[in-house]
């Protein structure tokens, strides 16, 4: 795996038609760290994720990967450095777990180059890492939601990325699988950006948190500084009690209902 890279957005703006979705947002992730994106629905998290991943081009501003403009990278060049896991992936194709994970090697191979033993080794390693080694022949449509996300994570890791970008990877999953997925991500040494819904999970797994509201960056910093009762009331419109957990020493957010 190549050295960790730094990823940054400089005053990026993105519009859908005439509607401004991302409005002059600047965020950055230090090499090897995890940045969490939080915010209410429609705050522009997913769009910012797409800009950071280079899937959309910003109307204004730049996304920089290792101090180089992301638009200057070739598609394959970028895919060898940045891997993306979407909210939920769907397909009609009758593919197996192994087929999907092998897709991760796509950017490392030219149009007709043969599959190598090095590719095999990487695929095996990632399967082991997400605990799916003995299910490689299983069909995608027989997997549960949590297993599918693990397969997609394995596919992303098979890209041998330096930066991993996840768009609410734990949506629709039960709490055990949410923690499962985030633990796996936490153990990786890559630079990570993750959009996340659950504030407690964000506090537990992120080094820094960026708060978005109506397309604008509200604030950004370490969880303990960011996740205040005032911010939660202002941005999410919910009264909350924030304390330090006696169990894991991290922030614990309780919503007062």
């Amino acid at each position: 795996m190549s050295a960790h890279l730094m990823l940054a957005a400089n005053a990026v703006r993105w519009l859908a038609g005439r509607k401004v979705i991302v409005d002059g947002v600047s965020v950055s992730v230090e090499p090897g760290q995890t940045l969490g994106l939080i915010g209410p629905n429609g705050s522009g998290k997913s769009s910012l994720i797409r800009l950071l991943a280079g899937l959309r081009a910003p109307a204004e501003g730049d996304v920089m990967l290792d101090r180089r403009k992301i638009s200057g990278f070739g598609r394959r060049e970028l895919a060898r450095r940045v891997a993306v896991v979407e909210q939920h992936s769907m397909t009609e194709a009758n593919v197996t777990v192994l087929d999907v994970v092998k897709l991760g090697r796509t950017p490392h191979r030219s149009a007709l180059s043969p599959w190598t033993s090095a590719d095999d080794e990487i695929v095996e390693n990632t399967l082991r890492r997400v605990g799916l080694t003995d299910r490689r022949e299983q069909f995608w449509h027989t997997l549960s939601g949590g297993e599918r996300q693990r397969v997609q994570l394995a596919r992303a890791l098979a890209q041998s990325p330096s930066v991993l970008i996840l768009d609410e990877p734990t949506n629709h999953l039960d709490i055990q699988h949410q923690i499962d997925i985030l633990r796996l991500v936490e153990d990786l040494s890559v630079t990570t950006v993750v959009a996340i819904h659950d504030l407690n999970l964000a506090a537990r797994f992120c080094d820094r948190i960026a708060v978005l509201s109506e397309g604008k960056l509200v604030t950004c910093g370490p969880p303990a500084e960011i996740l205040t009762e005032k911010m939660i009331a202002d941005v999410f419109g919910v009264e909350a009690h924030v304390s330090t957990s006696a169990h894991h020493g991290r922030l614990h957010i309780q919503f007062l209902m």
Binding site: R50, A53, L55, R75, R76, E77, L78, A79, R80, V82, A83, V84, E86, S89, M90, T91, E92, A93, N94, V95, T96, D99, V100, L103, G104, T106, P107, R109, A111, L112, E137, Q138, F139, H141, T142, Q159
Partner: protein, 343 residues
């Protein structure tokens, strides 16, 4: 869970070889069977004579029938089947819709309108051939679909645009036929619309062979990219695929193949829909194997369908589209039924 572990295409390679052998047998049968009864020995001799391999004395008329009529017809049938199946496979993967095929997307309908315009309205005053008319119609329908589905292009929008295009161009064809054709012409147009290999000759073989060969090479070259479309366009893009370019190249190749086939033999449905599903069942979803398999199975299917169309109500010939639908639908039902059981 046990059934999910079975890979039905484990013996895929053997299956492909089997299909290849079956194709050769079917083509020989296709050449041997016909109105004029010609012994098998003469059939083979006529072909090998022309290839310069033998010099066996064969009645000239028999040799001419074999070489100029039946062999060319059989070859065009094979290339048509391959081209249509390939087009269907590409459209299904690219649009991520199991129902996509040239017929559904209105490309065939556009080609028919173009051909009928030349045939009945006299567009081009004889300077434009029927084929050129069909080709123009196919490209027009294709442009119509792309335009309607443009902007934020999604698979569903493209299919909907295709449905609109089919309706429009079929209506135009019917309008032209009912307002400007006499009964005799209307009958021959309807016959042509349902597909017919009657009247194809060696120039058609050369054209269909080159178009399908180019199409196959371009498609196989993009097979990795097509695999990457499994989870949609954004997923493909994040795997390093130049999504727009791949889409444009492959859609153009598909339009080219379809337009060529329709201009030659009419609009033949169901091949592009059924064959890719059957091929997937044999070799699995990976495009490196799927695309050649589609071409082979499509060729076999069409050659057999052509034989059936000639013998079922001999000496008359059924429109090939009738045969492909009659054979295709039950076959398709079986696939759907088995797929449901696996799922």
């Amino acid at each position: 869970m046990t059934s999910s572990r079975i890979r039905p295409w484990a013996a895929g390679t053997a299956g492909v070889l089997l299909v290849l052998a079956a194709l050769l047998v079917a083509m020989t049968a296709g050449v041997a069977i016909g109105e004029m009864t010609i012994p098998m020995k003469t059939t083979v001799a006529a072909v090998t004579n022309r290839l310069g391999l033998t010099e066996i004395a064969v009645p000239r008329i028999q040799e001419a029938v074999i070489w100029d009529y039946r062999l060319s017809r059989s070859l065009v049938a094979a290339f048509c089947g391959a081209g249509l199946a390939l087009s269907g496979a590409i459209l299904q993967s690219l649009l991520r819709n199991p129902l996509a095929e040239p017929y559904v997307l209105g490309i065939s309908a556009g080609a028919s309108t173009g051909a009928v315009s030349v045939m009945l309205l006299g567009f081009g005053a004889g300077a434009i051939s029927l084929s050129a008319g069909a080709f123009a119609g196919a490209l027009l329908a294709f442009a119509f679909v792309v335009m309607l589905a443009s902007g934020r292009q999604t698979a569903d929008r493209t299919i909907l645009a295709g449905v609109a295009a089919s309706q429009l161009f079929n209506a135009l064809t019917s309008y032209i036929v009912s307002t400007s054709a006499n009964a005799e012409q209307a009958r021959s147009v309807m016959f042509w619309l349902l597909g017919s290999f009657a009247g194809v000759r060696w120039p058609d073989v050369a054209l269909s062979a080159s178009v399908v060969s180019i199409g196959l090479v371009v498609c196989i070259w993009h097979s990795r990219a097509l695999d990457a479309f499994t989870f949609g366009e954004d997923a493909a893009r994040s795997l390093g695929i130049a999504v727009q370019r791949v889409r444009v190249v492959l859609l153009l190749v598909t339009a080219l193949m379809t337009a060529t086939m329709v201009s030659m033999v009419g609009a033949i449905g169901f091949v592009g829909l059924v064959i890719p599903h059957a091929a997937r069942f044999i070799v699995g979803p990976g495009h490196m194997r799927l695309l050649p398999a589609c071409a082979l199975v499509g060729a076999l299917f069409m050659v057999v369908a052509d034989i059936v169309s000639r013998i079922i109500i001999a000496p008359q010939v059924l429109p090939i589209g009738v045969v492909t639908a009659l054979v295709g639908v039950p076959f398709f039902s079986v696939i759907l039924y088995r797929a449901r059981r696996v799922a």
